[in-house]
């Protein structure tokens, strides 16, 4: 069956998080999902807009939503957690506040319905991928991993409706299904330093340092993420991290989409892991043929 979904990659997936885009595309292709880009999309404004300019912080995401609506999309996949957060928040606020919606409509010259289903990468995986991995999986992700969710994917919980605010499990479940052993750790939703990457690298070193160290201390062999900002802070900022914690730690940081691609046996080029700063030296085990399972029918008493 051919499946189709709207797609908003966002700016970083066209640049520094290119491999995330590549891995999502690979994943979609492997499962026959067509990703249809939101026509003529613009930047969501990210942190900068809502820090400096409330009007822009609504108008920029609203135009994206309007373009998607106009193209007749129902679902859109937004792999970047930051974009996902902005788009979801704006849709939520405009959905419940009519006068604000009217004001924004006037600025962007559109008529928003605010009824899109905005999916983050994990929801996308649950809806389109998880149930169909089965035989496609060639390699077992036989590693101990730390699933790191970050802030933007889960908060505010009442709007984004993530499974468990303090100790989410959705990503852990995906990884477990690939054969991974996920660690139970307390920093799943701690902040990595987010948008301070360039302007206050020192802070990012401290915050991301705590996260990487905690994962390493608990024996994780890889950190699994779902956000380009988390990725760039934990991966590209590894020198700042190592400086902050005074220790060398070489565990790689892998997007959840890359992890699935890897288990499907995709090449480095297809997964994009060759683009990481911290090399992904992970050998996955060949998946053994599943023993024939005989389903016994037990009578209900």
């Amino acid at each position: 069956m051919q499946k189709k979904i709207g797609y908003y990659p966002g700016c970083s997936l066209e640049g520094s998080a290119r491999e995330y885009n590549e891995s999502v595309q690979t994943l979609a292709k492997a499962f026959d999902v067509t990703l249809e880009q939101v026509p003529d999309w613009n930047c969501c404004g990210a942190t900068a807009a809502h820090n400096l300019n409330k009007v822009l912080s609504f108008a920029l995401p609203a135009r994206i939503l309007a373009n998607a609506e106009k193209a007749g999309m129902e679902n859109i996949l937004v792999p970047c957690a930051a974009c996902y957060n902005r788009l979801s928040m704006v849709q939520h606020e405009l959905g419940k506040n009519e006068s604000l919606r009217n004001e924004v409509n006037a600025i962007i010259e559109a008529d928003l319905k605010c009824n899109l289903k905005i999916l983050n990468i994990i929801q996308f995986i649950q809806m389109f991928i998880s149930d169909f991995v089965g035989d496609k999986q060639q390699l077992l992700f036989n590693k101990k991993v730390a699933c790191y969710y970050g802030c933007l994917l889960v908060r505010p919980n009442d709007v984004l409706g993530f499974d468990r605010a303090e100790d989410p499990q959705m990503m852990d479940e995906v990884m477990k299904s690939l054969g991974a052993d996920t660690i139970d750790w307390p920093f799943k939703t701690e902040c990595c330093g987010a948008g301070l990457s360039v302007s206050r690298t020192d802070i990012v070193g401290n915050l991301s340092g705590r996260i990487v160290k905690e994962a390493a201390d608990r024996g994780a062999e890889a950190i699994i993420v779902a956000c380009p900002m988390c990725h760039s802070n934990l991966d590209m900022r590894r020198p700042a991290i190592e400086k902050a914690i005074g220790e060398k730690i070489d565990i790689p940081v892998i997007y959840i989409s890359q992890a699935i691609d890897m288990a499907l046996g995709k090449t480095q080029k297809e997964t994009g892991i060759n683009r990481h700063f911290v090399p992904v030296n992970i050998e996955l085990k060949k998946k053994e043929a599943e023993p024939q399972v005989v389903i016994e029918k037990t009578e209900e008493k």
Partner: protein, 666 residues
């Protein structure tokens, strides 16, 4: 000719601030049939009541309308005043221009007009009132006390000592409630069991008290003076009369790993068990959910070892019915579990416990024999962090109210810990210290100054486990929000006190009101603290809101006094606001057609059939008859009677039509 007196009250400024009372009085004086109309600042005061009495005599009034507050509080006041002046009390009505008018509207002409309209309706009604006489019903002088915690125990003993019968219904296999789980009690640090167990034994031995444990209320009907209470005795799988309480069965029961409710999951019990050694009654019950025999059909070890053959596997639940004059609710409270706290680990860390669990650790009869040892590995903790207000004062994820007891028991816990583990350090994260009882502040000061408990003002943001320690991330708000991180060995959450399980269901069975947190509501927060809105049902202790023991016991004795007061009369005087089947002269006798619809709909089974016979004893007609002792005046039958043959005294068709028409054609 009607001669009605109208008395408009200002209620201080409660009414006069928004309603022009003088104008209301003036307009009312012109209503047809009104003989006198005056306003006054406090009508319920002595001079106010005198105004009414004098007017009755002077103007030979045939009816009185007091236009003031809700009839709930002062209708009896004014009816008594009327009676003193020689007017039948049922010829006095209240027009509520406070709750229904002044409190809910802004000042203005429309508000005054509404007050006038309300007065007009009551004037029209009272013109049609008839003199009525109260009815008297006998009182069953037995009280049913529901819940056998310290509240129930105190109340039961007080009532029984006053010479009345008490039936106590306790859900668990033993009475005692939470107090029996406590180690030592603030502010005196006396041993909880030492002061409670003798009282528990008194309950069991008292000739006036019948104790049903492992029992629950099945249904309640009737009303004050004459409740009919049906009690379900859950099967204990045991013949209590034969069992000697030797405990052989408990020793031999192979199912030994059931988390004990009494030990808050820190200890284990068997499938046949008594909750704790001092239990009253000290006889076991079989927990059928966990018993191998009930699950798999095999075992019966207890039956084999029982020397007196007391085990009854086929015993079924049974029921007893009790006629009671009063009910007393004392079903207590519960505490939030640690699993309610995402940021403290969703209950997954073994060494993050709640206050009741700490009580069991500190108790000499507890799973560690009173040594403070942490649940995970039995080590003695060197640092304990106590977190106050866990789930209290927390509208976001817990309860918005202050649980009131946790400040004190947390101070006590820290103190007990320090007394038992001298080299240990207790920390308490708190927001405010609420220590307002007698000797309470002194108790807290002692904890801080003598026992060196470290109080840190701030809430804890997160607790997580690392290398066998619990990392507590808090803050010191008295140091400009400085972060505080403590590596603790154990964390005790003073979790919010909450309404007990099943309280909502029970409240609905008894028709008593409860608040949004499912605690039972008192009839008046200040003046009727141990009464419910349902006459004859009283409440005491933590089922009303979390309370400490002194407060619980005071409330219990208060409620008991109310019951004893009620029982000091043989007959109960009741307002005659009940339904009657209208009669008429022969040959019709009554418009009742004998469809007996009313019998089916009456929720109180107050209606039966009456045969009208001629002189020779031949039945002429069968009509409905309403038993005045049982009728509650709910009016359901009135609504169902197609031939309009039933009226509620004091609210008959005429009166109600007059009220409505007065509003329509002003």
């Amino acid at each position: 000719m009607a001669r009605i007196g109208v008395f408009i009250c200002h209620c201080g400024e409660n009414i006069s601030a928004t309603v022009d009372c003088e104008k209301v009085a003036k307009v009312a004086s012109e209503f047809p049939g009104v003989a006198v109309s005056v306003d006054y600042k406090y009508m319920c005061s002595d001079p106010g009541q005198n105004l009414v009495k004098e007017a009755i005599i002077e103007h030979k009034l045939t009816g009185v309308v007091v236009s003031a507050c809700s009839p709930r509080m002062h209708e009896p006041t004014f009816r008594n005043a009327c009676a003193e002046a020689g007017l039948n009390p049922f010829l006095c009505e209240m027009a509520n221009i406070r709750e229904h008018c002044s409190w809910v509207h802004e000042k203005g002409d429309a508000t005054t007009q509404k007050a006038i309209d309300i007065v007009r309706t009551l004037v029209e009604k009272v013109k049609r009132n008839e003199a009525l006489a109260p009815i008297y019903v006998p009182i069953s002088k037995t009280a049913v006390v529901i819940g056998g915690g310290v509240a129930g125990i105190q109340a039961a003993l007080d009532i029984a000592d006053a010479g009345h019968k008490v039936v106590m219904v306790e859900r668990e296999p033993s009475i005692g409630g939470h107090m029996s789980q406590l180690s030592e009690t603030f502010p005196t640090l006396d041993c909880s069991q030492c002061i409670l167990t003798p009282r528990m034994v008194d309950v069991a031995r008292h000739p006036n008290i019948t104790l049903y444990t492992y029992a629950e209320i099945e249904s309640v009907d009737g009303s004050i003076g004459n409740f009919n209470v049906k009690i379900r005795l859950k099967s204990k799988s045991l013949d209590e009369k034969v069992c000697t309480g030797c405990g052989a069965c408990i020793q031999k029961c192979p199912v030994k790993k059931i988390p004990s409710e009494f030990e808050q999951g820190l200890g284990m019990r068997t499938a046949i068990y008594v909750p704790f050694p001092q239990a009253v009654p000290n006889k076991p019950v079989i927990d059928r959910k966990n018993c191998t025999y009930y699950i798999k059909g095999k075992c019966k070890v207890c039956e084999i070892v029982c020397p007196t053959k007391a085990i009854r596997f086929d015993q079924e639940d049974s029921f007893v019915e009790v006629q009671a004059g009063a009910l007393l609710l004392a079903t207590g409270f519960d505490v939030l579990k640690t699993s309610a706290f995402p940021e403290y680990g969703y209950g997954k860390y073994k060494d993050v416990i709640d206050g009741l669990q700490f009580e069991r650790l500190a108790s000499a009869s507890g799973p560690t024999k009173g040594e403070i040892r942490r649940p995970s590995d039995g080590q003695i903790p060197k640092k304990i962090v106590f977190i106050a207000c866990a789930g209290s004062r927390d509208p976001a994820k817990g309860r918005e109210y202050c649980s009131k007891i946790c400040c004190m028991y947390t101070a006590k816990h820290a103190m007990l810990y320090k007394h038992k583990v001298h080299e240990g350090t207790p920390y308490i994260f708190y927001m405010d210290i609420r220590a307002t009882g007698k000797m309470y502040e002194e108790f807290v000061r002692r904890a801080i100054e003598e026992d060196e408990v470290k109080y840190i003002r701030g809430r804890v943001s997160q607790v997580y486990e690392k290398n066998g320690k619990l990392i507590v991330r808090g803050v010191d708000t008295l140091l400009m929000g400085q972060p505080v991180e403590i590596e603790a060995d154990m964390v005790v959450l003073a979790t919010a006190g909450i309404a007990n399980q099943g309280s909502e269901e029970l409240a609905q069975k008894l028709h008593v009101s409860y608040d949004k947190h499912k605690f039972f509501s008192e009839a008046h927060p200040k003046l009727k603290p141990v009464e419910t809105n349902t006459a004859g049902i009283f409440l005491a202790g933590a089922c009303q809101s979390t309370k400490d023991i002194p407060e619980t016991v005071a409330a219990a004795s208060g409620a008991a006094a109310k019951v004893v007061g009620l029982f000091s009369n043989d007959m109960l005087k009741r307002d005659p606001l009940i339904a009657i089947v209208k009669k008429s002269p022969p040959p019709v006798y009554s418009s009742c057609t004998g469809c007996f619809m009313c019998i089916q709909v009456c929720p109180y089974q107050a209606i039966d059939k009456e045969e009208i016979k001629d002189r020779n004893g031949n039945i002429i007609k069968t009509i409905s008859h309403i038993n005045p002792g049982l009728c509650q005046g709910c009016g359901t039958c009135v609504a169902f009677c197609k031939s309009k043959s039933i009226d509620i005294l004091g609210y008959n068709h005429d009166q109600v039509y007059a009220e409505v028409s007065a509003l329509l054609n002003e």
